[in-house]
Symmetry: C2
Subunit: 398 residues, 2 copies
Amino acid sequence: MTTDFQATKDKFHLPAGMIYLDGNSLGPLPKAAAARVNQTVANEWGDMLITSWNKAGWMAQPTALADRVGALIGAEPGHTVLGDTLSIKVYQALAAAIDLTPMRKVILSDTGNFPTDLYMAEGLIKSLDRGHQLKTVAPDDIIDALDDTVGVLMLTQVDYRTGRMHDMQALTKAAHAKGIITIWDLAHSAGAIPVNLQGCNADFAIGCTYKYLNGGPGAPAFIYVAPKHINSTQPALSGWLGHAAPFAFDMTYAPGTGIERMRVGTPPVLQMAALDAAMDVWDAVDMQDVRDQCFAFSEILISEITTRCPDLQLASPRDGALRGSQVSFSHPEGYAIVQALIAQGVVGDFRAPNIIRFGITPLYLTQSDITRAADILCDIMANRTWDQPQFKVKSAVT
Amino acid sequence: MTTDFQATKDKFHLPAGMIYLDGNSLGPLPKAAAARVNQTVANEWGDMLITSWNKAGWMAQPTALADRVGALIGAEPGHTVLGDTLSIKVYQALAAAIDLTPMRKVILSDTGNFPTDLYMAEGLIKSLDRGHQLKTVAPDDIIDALDDTVGVLMLTQVDYRTGRMHDMQALTKAAHAKGIITIWDLAHSAGAIPVNLQGCNADFAIGCTYKYLNGGPGAPAFIYVAPKHINSTQPALSGWLGHAAPFAFDMTYAPGTGIERMRVGTPPVLQMAALDAAMDVWDAVDMQDVRDQCFAFSEILISEITTRCPDLQLASPRDGALRGSQVSFSHPEGYAIVQALIAQGVVGDFRAPNIIRFGITPLYLTQSDITRAADILCDIMANRTWDQPQFKVKSAVT
């Protein structure tokens, strides 16, 4: 192991006493981010104003910073760009993929995909009005559903509820054998597990940067387009910053060079600053070390809970090779259990209808955090601490 | 006049000695924004983490803060929402407007529109592939081009190059008389001039918040949908945060209530914090006062320059009633002239091919700023100071 996890832990701010197992929803604050954002606000915006588009690198950041994300997911340099939200990136990728397989009308996904991916596909299909169909099958039935009616296979690699992980390489290969284009949503992969887009011969990938990459609330999304496709990709969302010459202000659109064409509008400069600080943490991190440490921690958590808390059902695969970087349990009172945990400083989250999720993030968690979280959870279950009215009041965002 | 412009000026940070005439590109830093953003980073993200979605109001902010923008443009409360970029909002508005007039195939715009509006329309038309046509006419020819082939009239109210302002009320009325839906891009209107969407019976409006509203680089865009249309609007970009129940994680999309459906993905929380601080400045501002002061300042600038600098041609309408909040001049060496001005602390900007732009923003400019800027510009013209090699090197972003 080459990664110094004590050193990475020291780079994050976490409230005293909190065990934060929700990095799969929102990564914690890298200590350097506050100063970096303040510098962007006070010096770049405040003092340098519009000159910062060039002098502070604001205009180049969506590609420059994207390459640092790309390095963690095995992307070729110059083939990833940051911007917008993951929903928008789904739309861009799917519109481009459909264009590459115009005669095939089925977009295949699975029931474990994150809903916004399916919703965006629905919206695009409706707009296109060319007889496309979004077909969702169970995760295990994907291989059998790959046939010559399918144009695009659109999957989230790691299931947001259960952490179940698809074999990206095998599925991409099987899809390609049938002439199908693939889109991989890496929302729960980037910064969580080793990903090798080049090695998988991936076509399109998308993801967000506020979960395992710790880019902050509302951090920009990313999109990757393989070199073999980028020059034939005609952006559906043809915004001015994806134009070949944005500042020529031509009246008609011409796509920019390479991945630049997947830019749309003005980048979120303050969010980029926070993400930039967050990416610094990754410079000294080996993704395989993260994976190994996550595996070890997850085994401890699963072992403790399955042994000591019989009422909690493991919702994640038992085999660590089939899991991403989260461990989930199911319980009919999952919501209240999560609230009771939070009240004792253990922050996980709940996903309807009955899933208790824990992100296992070695960058800022220790083994003693994991065993302590297990103890607290077992205590809550044994004493039915969750069975109190204050833990059952649902918030707008759960 | 009820607005205390000295008080508003005190609320902005501007570098010592700088006369900032580029608020039409990027508004300067409201002093309160740095602390506000830092609070969001350190306290909300750092200490409160995911609970901030509820407790710090992150989830509600795209509508709550949008209503503060809406109040400046005469929108009904609850009919504006923030998010994404202006390009994305153009796409959303146009897709919705096309749906309302399915049998009419012409989208009418003008040659003064900002290119990204036209580019996004191009992309949408190509995706739809239903025979729509983007027709652009000269600004003065719009009325004559309104016929029953036109489904949507999509215009930017104030021309980004010249400041020429359309009569929103008259054009909307003329469009409606022909059964045409209107989309108004308020990028150079919101915070610049009084706008009354309700009074104009507007259908859709969009805009950005980093120019006259001073929301910071990459601040979110906004979209307004009139009450008469919102419930029949089916979002083309049907993201999960526009869903009726985002946290139910249903497999199929159902549009949210009212304007909520025009949300797409996770809001840019740090950008929202900066914009929130910027909007505080507007609480004590009367838009008509801004308009009056802008008119007075613009008259001084135009009078000085046209009298003393015969080489500079006024590119804006001479009649202040026909201008927005900027004054532009044309010159073949406009780029070099702007660089020479910036070197002397007067920040305007250049727009291809030959436009020198000055944003006239009374919130932080004084009459003496305007006369001093005029003196410096006239001096540069008289001495041909601009005719030096260092002023002719073009940056990536101009």
